[in-house]
């Protein structure tokens, strides 16, 4: 396992439920502390269900927008992880590049970037195969057209 597989690492549903309960409990009695929200969001981000990941992302965005927050780099990093897990690689890279603008030599962030770019290329190759299929199809049709014009 390496960083690549880390994107595939999933949190257990027990863990998610436990942190969901803590979050809901605080929500009922006033504002949720940022540590409770952060923990819940991190487990959601690593859920195997895209719906959970999306919810984790919006909880992190909420934290990030709070001007009093000190842990912004942590939120941004996990936002990149969440978006990468949803295959929204462009959004993930925006977060990564934002982090690198501040911490150019952060190796942990550089490694995540390498993995995301690798996955993007992987998707591009898949896309090209599909496009190639279409081209072959067109070629065949054009070929037929030409053939039919031959005497």
């Amino acid at each position: 396992m390496d960083m690549d597989d880390f994107l595939g690492w999933t949190s257990s549903s027990d863990d998610i439920r436990k942190h969901e309960e803590a979050y809901n409990k605080e929500l009922m009695s006033g504002p949720v502390s940022s540590s409770t929200q952060f923990n819940y969001a991190c487990f959601l981000i690593q859920s195997k269900y895209p719906g959970d990941v999306r919810r984790g992302i919006s909880l992190l965005e909420e934290l990030y927008q709070n001007p009093d927050e000190s842990g912004k780099r942590d939120y941004v990093y996990f936002l990149a992880v969440g978006n990468a897990r949803l295959k929204d690689y462009n959004q993930a890279l925006q977060y990564i590049n934002g982090l690198l603008a501040v911490e150019r030599s952060n190796k942990q962030v550089q490694e995540l970037k390498v993995i995301i770019e690798k996955r993007m290329r992987g998707e591009a190759v898949k896309g090209a195969a599909v496009a190639g299929g279409v081209l072959v199809g067109l070629g065949a049709i054009v070929g037929l057209g030409i053939a039919s014009q031959l005497p």
Partner: protein, 221 residues
Amino acid sequence: MSAGPYNYSYIFKYIIIGDMGVGKSCLLHQFTEKKFMADCPHTIGVEFGTRIIEVAGQKIKLQIWDTAGQERFRAVTRSYYRGAAGALMVYDVTRRSTYNHLSSWLTDARNLTNPNTVIFLIGNKGDLDAQRDVTYEEAQQFAEENGLMFVEASAKTGENVEEAFLETAKKIYQNIQDGSLDLNAAESGVQHKPNGGQAGAGGRATLNNSSAGQTRENCSC
């Protein structure tokens, strides 16, 4: 990733735990790259390293989860303990508080891993002998009382860094050989690749370079 023969026969999962600033990430870099990185930013959640080593003629890939020591990450990093075959528990010989917290790290490690997980205690920053705040003898005694392996090391000079990672692997391998570690158990932290270690066969043509001995070659932190 799944096609073709592996060039290693086992994967062992390690975690590195301990207070923030004791040198966990530096130990990892020293082990995977043989370099000391004096000013690394704080780890966010978890960082990874891999290296292939050899024990008793078997190639073993170590996948190392270097956890953030900050309290704010505790809940998240705890979830990464699952399925670790080895745990390197680190304190800083120049900071007594990091030594005093060992029992809480040990409790976590014991509760969240399986009974066969090998726990290795590392007293890091051994190069700073003049600033020493924890004696070798007392740490040695703590290790003995808790059945841990122990060395003092330095991520800066590299002293005893290889030893800590390799001795842990030897112990895990020994546990496999004598049957005390059941590879079929869900969270043993060890994966066996039955046709691994076969040389030749054209190697693997994938983008994943993690099997090429040491990863992380293009980093300059």
